[in-house]
């Protein structure tokens, strides 16, 4: 593994030299207050969901005598019909929702980038066949696909990660394929080949690092899409199972009981939407920042 290679540095933008794509992008992102605000909010929400449940009240402790009470000083978001503290449940649900978002996106990212890069690099008939498969998968109603997977494998949260990831990789594959096709004729790939590197090494060490820009942008936009899908599955009763909870589950429960207990719908719904908001602002900001065609206005 210690052979010399032309590794492209992507993780540490060189600020002294100044004008790499990454440092330019960082400068542009910093000027975009909406995107930056979104990023900070996401960070705060994640931290709150990750560590909040340690300090808050129990999310599964029932208090049937109490029942559902509206928000008060003791229960900031009220309680549900079983007398469980909604604030604790919302934080805990957020933990699961964000985790599903991250892990499923990672699955989608891995499949999509690998698939797209291979199709784009090899080209020709292999590429055509691989992309036809993507077209066919696009034409399946995805809800059905996920439902089949879920029904088939039973309701296991790890399968949920996998099922959602397996559904969301298609667009990523298309984007990466397009990018790889655009850069595979460039000299550095030629050079890598002249050095005698194998296909696999060229794809994973040279091509993929160079298409990271669009991939990062699309990743930030995939996370909210994945979280929406998880919520949709929970809405169908196929998602996370009790006593665990996710924002989707809480919203579903809330929408069933909203006529009497509005807070059960409003708080989880608001936090969920706020998260999606921030992720989208961040994603849009990143896209503007990394878009090389954008003029420096």
């Amino acid at each position: 593994m210690d052979e010399p290679e032309a590794k492209i540095r992507v993780t540490t933008p060189d600020t002294e030299q100044g004008h790499s794509l990454w440092s330019d992008a960082w400068h542009r992102l910093r000027r975009n207050h909406l995107a930056l605000g979104g990023g900070i909010l996401i960070l705060l929400l994640s931290l709150l969901c990750a560590f909040g449940p340690i300090f808050s009240q129990s999310y599964e402790e029932q208090n049937l005598d109490l029942g559902a009470v509206p928000p008060s000083l003791q229960h900031w978001m009220g309680t549900d019909v079983l007398g469980r503290d909604l604030f604790a449940r919302t934080l805990y649900g957020g933990r699961i929702s964000i985790m599903v978002g991250l892990v499923a996106t990672f699955v989608a990212l891995t499949i999509g980038v690998t698939y797209g890069a291979i199709a784009g690099f090899i080209g020709g008939k292999t590429d055509a066949a691989m992309m036809r498969l993507v077209d066919i998968l696009y034409a399946l109603p995805f809800a059905i696909f996920v439902i089949l997977l879920m029904v088939f494998f039973g309701q296991n949260i790890f399968l949920l990660f996998f099922a959602i990831g397996a559904v969301e990789w298609l667009t990523m594959a298309r984007i990466v394929r397009g990018q790889v096709m655009a850069i595979k004729k460039m000299e550095f790939v030629e050079a890598a080949r002249a050095l005698g590197l194998g296909r696999r090494r060229i794809i994973f060490r040279h091509l993929i690092p160079n298409v990271l820009g669009p991939v990062i942008v699309y990743t930030t936009l995939t996370i909210p899409a994945v979280m929406l899908l998880e919520a949709f599955l929970s809405f169908l009763g196929l998602g996370v199972q009790a006593p665990m909870s996710s924002w989707g589950v809480l919203i579903k429960d809330g929408s069933e009981k909203m006529e009497e207990f509005w807070w059960l719908l409003v708080f989880p719904g608001a936090l969920f939407s706020l998260t999606l908001f921030s992720l989208n602002f961040l994603g849009d900001g990143l896209r503007d920042a990394l878009d090389v065609r954008a003029s420096k206005d």
């Binding site: 909406l34 034409a139 029904v151 909203m258 939407s273 999606l276 908001f277 602002f281």
Partner: protein, 305 residues
């Protein structure tokens, strides 16, 4: 152009075949069957039922029979609704979904297009931020939050509408608003992006230099090019919107086909699953074809290949 359409239609055949085949075997491998109910039927009746629907024959025979029947336009009998065929179910429920879908699409276009154009023209002003934020609300507030919220406020609190049901014209308002807002948001975002791209082109500068009014520049010169991304989005969007939305139809109790997409899978109603999947695929493929044709018409730089 006729050649282009013909070639594309020919290419569709293998795609549809793969979709049908994959779905056929996929639903069969799911555990449980259409007659697995809470109250189990006696083995004898079960055998009779399976014989009646041909489920006792080898899978490949059933597959061939099914392929033969769909080639004759017959989607088979439903297992869950024993007296009905899948064709009848679709014929009954699809029109309701199409109706809701078209109204929602109208709502989406009427709200989305002006917002997107306005945001692009007034780029980086408070007008732009307002329009763009509104568009994000539609993207980020899922229909199963938006729908109940609208019911909570407009139907229950103010009493202007029925909370659910599908009878008079007033019952169309809340569902189409809920569904339309989502699409309005996407359309506004795409319109803004497309218009920004076009407004920075040289020919727009030329038009302005020649003294064309701002309204004329936007309506006559920019809109056609700026709407290209919206048109590509509308293909899959229309296919999705007219085949019904499970969430909306569940929340508002609408007898549309959208619910069957999910319920048929739960019920292991094999023929209905296949019927809905096929329906969606046909819609999607034809809409995409239509979009490709419209795009060539809209953009003189493109040619039919």
């Amino acid at each position: 152009m006729i050649r282009f359409v013909a070639v594309r239609l020919l290419q569709t055949i293998p795609v549809i075949w793969v979709i049908v085949t994959a779905t056929f075997f996929m639903v069969r491998f799911v555990p449980g069957g259409p007659f697995t109910a809470e109250r189990a039927v006696s083995p004898e009746i079960l055998r009779n039922l399976q014989a009646h629907y041909g489920l006792d024959r080898p899978l490949w025979r059933q597959y061939l029979t099914y392929c033969d029947s769909i080639l004759h336009g017959n989607l088979g009998p439903s297992f869950k609704y024993p007296t009905r065929t899948v064709n009848e179910i679709i014929a009954e429920k699809l029109p309701e979904s199409i109706q809701l879908g078209l109204i929602s699409l109208g709502v989406a276009l009427v709200i989305g297009l002006p917002l997107g154009v306005l945001a692009a023209v007034k780029r980086n002003t408070w007008v732009d931020y307002l329009c763009s934020s509104f568009a994000l609300v539609g993207v980020c507030v899922p229909t199963f939050v938006m729908g109940p919220l609208l019911i909570l406020v407009l139907a229950i609190h103010f009493g202007w509408f029925n909370a659910s049901g599908w009878y008079g014209p007033m019952d169309r308002v809340l569902p189409s608003l809920t569904l339309g807002l989502v699409y309005a948001a996407y359309i506004a975002r795409l319109t803004r992006g497309g218009m920004l791209e076009v407004l920075s082109q040289d020919y727009i500068r030329t038009a302005r230099a020649k003294g064309a009014s701002e309204g004329r520049v936007i309506l006559k010169h920019s809109l056609r090019g700026g709407l290209t991304p919206v048109v590509s989005f509308l293909g899959p969007a229309i296919a999705g919107i007219v085949t019904g939305s499970f969430v909306i139809e569940t929340i508002f109790q609408i007898p549309g086909i959208g619910r069957e997409f999910v319920n048929s899978a739960f019920n292991r109603d094999y023929t209905l699953v296949l019927g809905t999947v096929l329906l969606y695929a046909v819609f999607l493929i034809s809409m995409n074809l239509l979009v490709d044709v419209v795009q060539v018409w809209m953009n003189p730089k493109l040619k039919f290949e």
